[in-house]
Symmetry: C2
């Protein structure tokens, strides 16, 4: 029979592998967009099934571990956090796929007459994802809190992109599809940021044993 | 010390309370939209904090139960399913809030020159949510499978709404905001359907012990 520590390590490592792969897909989805690069887009589509596989594997490791080892206290919190983080990572992966699908569609539409500013929101979202994963690896609640603080900036950038695209659509009907693609891409980036926030909240719960969801930062 | 069966019952009942409240919010969000009814919208906004409270309470019940009672086999599957279903229900509640925010915004925009067809997609999505919850209450995997089968129809209705709204935006720049609101509402309904699908998959896992995610229905 495997030792509890061995099973915890396997779960931890598999979750980190999943995190690294999802972060890579997010990076490539942003690059496919800002550099209009089809290769990056196709790599994201290719890696989707591996991410789905890892999601099922992690759930399986977590449930088997609980059933066999009956962890308590902080070990139990870790397994519950792993189940939740796993779900958020898989959905981030789905968003990356959604971004490249839209980004491939946008490449086929006429060029917009302005810079949309995806580099800025893309960098910010990527940094939230990497920081939330880093906070998980280091079990660092302080670091996790910096992720929660960044969420408002993403919302602002997303709103600014939406407003610009509405103006574009009003000025030129030919641009409607491309502008809509960009609005939807910005929303997917915002949803990735929301999932990174969920991961950060789970890290705080894991380290501190407190639930910070649905509470303001000031509390 | 509480008996395991008592704790399992409490978890089950709280999850059903959460499900009923979320289903009600979804119903009201659809009604606020098709009947342009502000009262329904405000009720959804009011119930959001109760839903958030229930989410934290259910996670707490589940983790305490695991720590105190060390459930195995089907009891353990039930607790893991409860944690996952809880997350999906809370996010459906978020989507209902998102729908009424957009629906209140749309009420302030000029009327569209056509019927958008939200009654049909709204009814279908509501029925998926209610069926997934019913399948959970009855532990009925067969019933859960009917939810998975309905997901494609929702995607088709959402695509049809998006296509109609793109035409509206191209024909009349004054309609851009309202048409965009409707595109985003249709996407939120689709996401509620996705969450109902997740719940149905968790019910199948709970009853049969098999994981049907990322597999086609034919398998």
């Amino acid at each position: 029979m495997l030792l509890m520590q061995e099973e915890l390590n396997t779960l931890n490592e598999t979750l980190q592998e999943m995190g690294a792969l999802v972060a890579q897909s997010i990076h490539r989805s942003v690059m496919s967009l800002v550099e209009k690069n089809e290769d990056y887009a196709h790599q994201v589509l290719r890696d989707e099934s591996r991410i789905n596989q890892l999601e099922m594997q992690i759930d399986d490791l977590a449930t088997t571990l609980i059933a066999r080892q009956t962890p308590v206290a902080s070990d139990m919190r870790f397994v519950v956090a792993a189940i939740k983080i796993n779900t958020d990572l898989e959905r981030m992966g789905d968003m990356a796929v959604g971004i490249v699908e839209r980004s491939l569609a946008a490449m086929r539409q006429p060029e917009l007459p302005l810079e949309v500013g995806f580099t800025e929101i893309g960098n910010l979202v990527e940094s939230m994802v990497l920081t939330s994963l880093d906070a998980f690896v280091k079990r660092d609640a302080q670091l996790a809190r910096t992720v929660l603080a960044a969420d408002d900036a993403v919302d602002k950038l997303r709103n600014s992109i939406t407003r610009q695209m509405i103006e574009v659509m009003k000025l030129d009907p030919v641009m409607v599809e491309r502008a809509l693609d960009y609005i939807l891409i910005a929303r997917r980036l915002e949803r990735i940021a929301d999932h990174a926030t969920n991961v950060a909240e789970d890290v705080i719960f894991l380290v501190k044993g407190i639930d910070v969801r649905h509470r303001s930062l000031a509390e």
